[in-house]
């Protein structure tokens, strides 16, 4: 492990590397500590981001400019009812190009074996496609024109007792038939989305033909979005009118912050960070204490304190780099496995960068105790 070209790297880098590599057992302990801290932070933050994306996925996958929701709505999964007359009132507002209905309602899904599951019925306008399922893996959207047709996600097929297309089940005691599968449309509530036409959704959920849940507004290209939103709010009265992005963030905020689910994940990630700091701190400190005579010699030779700090910080950085690399391999495995589960662990490049930064900070914080110790070294101790 000491086989590096010492004539190409600085003295502090050489000392840092040799201090670590000549005590392999301790170095391995440090790396394992960093690795598991990275794994814990990565999985928890990945889950947080995955959940955040899941809670707003329905909003994110429409191209509506504005969402009109029943007053007091906090998220896309739970809402009251809107009267269809509101759609015509909205269409009368200048700047509005198109208004589509979107239904969202919990229902009971009776499996072929008689068991029951809760599902979220999503009823959309088949003609415009606003609110339609994405990532269709089997079947065709047009198949939903049939009266009892629904599309579900493969991730929930087993949970819903569905093994093949064409299978019939019951939704709120009404016959339904699975005509398509999507891939990777998850739900935070664990009540799987069941996509169907707006008309079918009304029937499945006992909504009256003039009732819906949301109105999705497309604006004319030259419309002033803020002005139209304000006009809609004034015109329609007891509803909420949201920009799509705002509604998506509201949904994320509700599920992750208001319910406390996000706090639990953040707390676990913080725990990983603390565990990492403690392990790196302990092992680096033990290495530093073992090497105190060498640090005292450096001080006696005239090394400034910052030279000693650099040695310790580079030890921390080396531990961070190797531990991060190992940790990210494990995180990658978890992300890969999560693609086949109903719980998504997201790991975009931005989060990888954040994790790298957190790992570096964690190791640097772990090095602080060692730095404090060498600051107090008495160079005359080399004569004892």
């Amino acid at each position: 492990m000491s086989g590096i070209d010492a004539s190409r790297i600085s003295g502090t880098s050489l000392l840092a590397w040799r201090n670590l590599s000549h005590d392999r057992a301790r170095f391995v302990v440090t790396l394992v500590g960093v690795l598991f801290a990275v794994l814990l932070m990565g999985v928890e933050l990945g889950l947080l981001l995955g959940f955040a994306r899941t809670t707003s996925s329905l909003v994110d996958h429409t191209d509506a400019d504005l969402w009109i929701t029943p007053a007091g709505t906090t998220n896309v999964d739970i809402a009251g009812r809107l009267d269809e007359r509101r759609r015509f009132e909205a269409l009368a507002v200048p700047g509005v190009a198109q208004v589509d209905q979107l239904m969202m309602q919990f229902a009971f899904w009776r499996k072929p074996d008689g068991g029951t599951e809760s599902v979220s019925i999503v009823g959309f306008n088949l003609a415009t496609g606003q609110g339609r399922p994405w990532n269709l893996a089997e079947g065709a959207i047009e198949d939903l024109q049939q009266d009892d047709a629904v599309i579900i996600d493969r991730l929930y097929a087993a949970k819903l007792g569905v093994t093949a297309l064409g299978q019939t089940i019951e939704i709120n005691n009404r016959r339904a038939r699975v005509v398509g599968f999507t891939a990777g449309i998850r739900t935070f509530t664990q009540s799987p989305y069941v996509f169907t036409t707006h008309r079918n959704a009304q029937r499945f959920t006992f909504f009256r033909p003039d009732q819906t849940t949301y109105l999705l507004v497309r604006l004319r290209p030259d419309a002033d979005a803020a002005a139209v939103r304000a006009a809609l709010q004034t015109r329609l009265g007891r509803v909420d009118v949201w920009f799509a992005e705002d509604f998506a963030r509201a949904a994320q905020r509700y599920w992750l912050i208001t319910t406390g689910a996000g706090s639990a994940l953040l707390l676990a990630a913080l725990l990983g960070l603390v565990v990492g700091i403690v392990i790196v701190g302990q092992t680096l400190y033990a290495t530093t204490v073992d090497r105190l005579p060498e640090y005292a010699t450096l001080r006696a030779m005239g090394a400034p304190n910052r030279y000693l700090y650099r040695v310790i910080l580079k030890q921390a950085a080396i531990s961070a780099v190797f531990g991060f690399a190992g940790g990210m391999v494990l995180v990658g495995v978890v992300v890969l496995v999560s693609t086949r589960s109903t719980v998504a662990v997201a790991m975009p490049p931005g989060l990888i960068a954040v994790l790298a930064l957190l790992t570096l900070c964690m190791c640097a914080l772990g090095a602080l105790v060692s730095i404090r110790r060498v600051t107090r070294i008495d160079p005359t101790s080399v004569f004892q």
């Binding site: 000491s2 010492a6 004539s7 190409r8 790297i9 600085s10 003295g11 502090t12 050489l14 000392l15 040799r18 201090n19 590599s21 000549h22 005579p293 060498e294 010699t297 450096l298 001080r299 006696a300 030779m301 005239g302 090394a303 400034p304 304190n305 030279y307 160079p379 005359t380 080399v382 004569f383």
Partner: protein, 234 residues
């Protein structure tokens, strides 16, 4: 000839009140370049404290210290003292104090790294120094693979690497056998005379005495004798 180190009524007191211990008392002396000065005396006589004061490792409790004619301010902070050591002073220790995880040449190169010599030149310069001290064939060895004499010569090479004008050695032969100890003493003597470095050696070892150009004798923290032997072995 200008003295490299001048001490004027220097005293060092450890502790306070009833437990205070005077390690050095009113020591006045001047160390000249190009000669090897021996500091002799029984244990507890203040030799190491004197070496530490001369090496800018220890601030005296009272008295004045001059380095190359410049008086050191009594309130110099530790970083300023470290900078003085780095610029002017090399140390050789009784137990070598080599870095066990570094090869011989890398141990020497650390002193050059402290002086910010470009990395490309550090290896070259370190190998030159080791060759000068007869260790060219041991450059790639770790300290654990060297004999006591070889380790001490690596330590001397490291002390010389920064081009110091003062070399302070604390019992450099104490851990060495007779012949090896004499060899190290001779090396230090040659350095003083060949390079003009002021070499100060603290020693109990009578084998070193013939190599001293000047012998200072300390007892109970006082300088009780300062003589120049009639004939140096060099």
């Amino acid at each position: 000839m200008t003295a490299v180190i001048t001490l004027d009524k220097v005293g060092v007191v450890y502790g306070r009140g009833a437990t205070a211990l005077a390690a050095l008392q009113d020591v006045t002396l001047a160390i000249q370049p190009g000669e090897m000065t021996l500091l002799l005396g029984p244990s507890g006589s203040g030799k190491t404290s004197l070496l530490q004061v001369m090496g800018c490792l220890l601030r005296p409790s009272h008295g004045r210290v001059q380095l190359f004619g410049e008086t050191l301010a009594p309130d110099l902070d530790v970083e300023a003292l470290a900078a003085l050591r780095l610029a002017h002073i090399g140390f050789v220790f009784q137990h070598y104090n080599l870095f066990p995880t570094l090869r011989a040449w890398e141990n020497v190169a650390i002193a050059l790294d402290l002086k910010a010599l470009p990395r490309a030149r550090q290896r070259e310069r370190s190998l030159q120094l080791l060759e000068r001290l007869g260790l060219a064939d041991r450059a790639e060895h770790y300290p654990a693979e060297l004999s006591g004499g070889q380790k001490q010569r690596v330590a001397i090479a490291r002390a010389l690497a920064g081009g110091p004008r003062i070399l302070l050695a604390d019992e450099p032969t104490a851990a060495l056998d007779g012949k090896t100890g004499q060899g190290v003493a001779a090396t230090l003597h040659e350095l003083a005379h060949g390079s003009g470095v002021a070499v100060v050696v603290v020693s109990h070892d009578p084998r070193v005495e013939p190599f001293g150009d000047r012998v200072l004798h300390l007892e109970d923290g006082r300088l009780v004798d300062d003589r120049r032997p009639a004939r140096s072995s060099a």
